[in-house]
């Protein structure tokens, strides 16, 4: 479903990704882990067509990502960010946020689709005409997930989707993502620095350091604390003894 081959990205004179390659099968959940600056979020941006200076090949759903992706391609792949406050317009209601993609893509039965999506993400219908500041952090993230799903995408790009939430709300959102993935046969590409989150939500992971993939492993290897690369072992050590 996602194919990245030899992806190199430059910001001005700085190369931030070096020949990154990985593949994610349909319905699979794949994590990109590494600390800040490792380039993991840049991979999501490149797949979403938000990076100018790149080389290599990328494909989503068998269609190559080009510098001018079509509207139909854009609908296949949607992104959810760490901070839903930053990604929701402060003066637009939940209804506006969920209806907008339908309007842009000329889809009908907007009322029914918005209500069905509120139900799907576990947001009570009375929140439909609220503004972002009238919602809790967890509710805002439900709105962001709902908006991402309005066009029935095949792929969700998740950039630290729960790291701004308290741990109980994080659990609610992680449960929601896991259920939606199964119900809608979604493919996930998750960026995080939180290995337990990877263990809960993902099938495989790639470990990134300084713009390079240093290791790719299955989640069983992660759960067995058996990552092979030096940096992978460092990440494991840093999450020892939290509880």
């Amino acid at each position: 479903m996602i194919q990245v081959d030899d992806l190199t990205v430059r910001y001005g004179p700085t190369t931030v990704l070096h020949n990154v390659s990985f593949a994610v099968a349909q319905g699979e959940s794949f994590a990109l882990v590494g600390e800040s600056g490792s380039g993991k979020s840049t991979i999501l941006k490149a797949l979403a067509g938000q990076v100018d200076d790149w080389s290599g090949q990328m494909a989503v759903g068998g269609q190559r990502v080009t510098r001018s992706s079509s509207r139909a391609q854009a609908a296949q792949i949607q992104m959810v960010f760490q901070d839903p406050y930053g990604s929701l317009h402060p003066r637009r209601t939940v209804d506006d946020a969920l209806s907008e993609p339908l309007v842009i893509h000329g889809l009908s039965e907007r009322d029914a689709r918005v209500l069905a999506m509120l139900d799907a993400v576990g947001l009570a219908r009375r929140f439909r005409f609220r503004l972002p500041h009238q919602l809790s952090g967890g509710q805002r993230q439900r709105v962001a997930i709902a908006r991402a799903l309005m066009l029935s995408p095949k792929v969700l790009l998740l950039d630290e989707p729960t790291s701004a939430l308290d741990v109980s709300v994080q659990a609610e959102i992680l449960n929601l993502l896991k259920r939606l993935r199964a119900e809608q046969r979604l493919t996930f590409l998750l960026v995080t620095h939180d290995l337990p989150v990877v263990s809960f939500l993902c099938d495989r992971l790639a470990v990134l350091r300084a713009g390079r993939v240093v290791e790719t492993a299955g989640v069983a290897t992660l759960r067995g604390r058996a990552l092979a690369s030096d940096y992978g072992r460092e990440l494991l050590a840093s999450c020892e003894g939290i509880v």
């Binding site: 308290d166 741990v167 109980s168 659990a171 609610e172 337990p196 989150v197």
Partner: protein, 57 residues
Amino acid sequence: MFNGEVVEEIGPGALHAATHPYTRGLIASLPRLDEDRAELPVLDRAALARFGQEGRA
């Protein structure tokens, strides 16, 4: 803290010994590296609210 009150004060190394249901609920809701779980437990806010009222009564 829960409902504006400090309900428990423990050191970061002693989280496993937490006794307040809110603290225990938070810890339980964390994903675990070595466990494959179908669903994470979430806080039962209604039960916590009842506990809070009884605790003050």
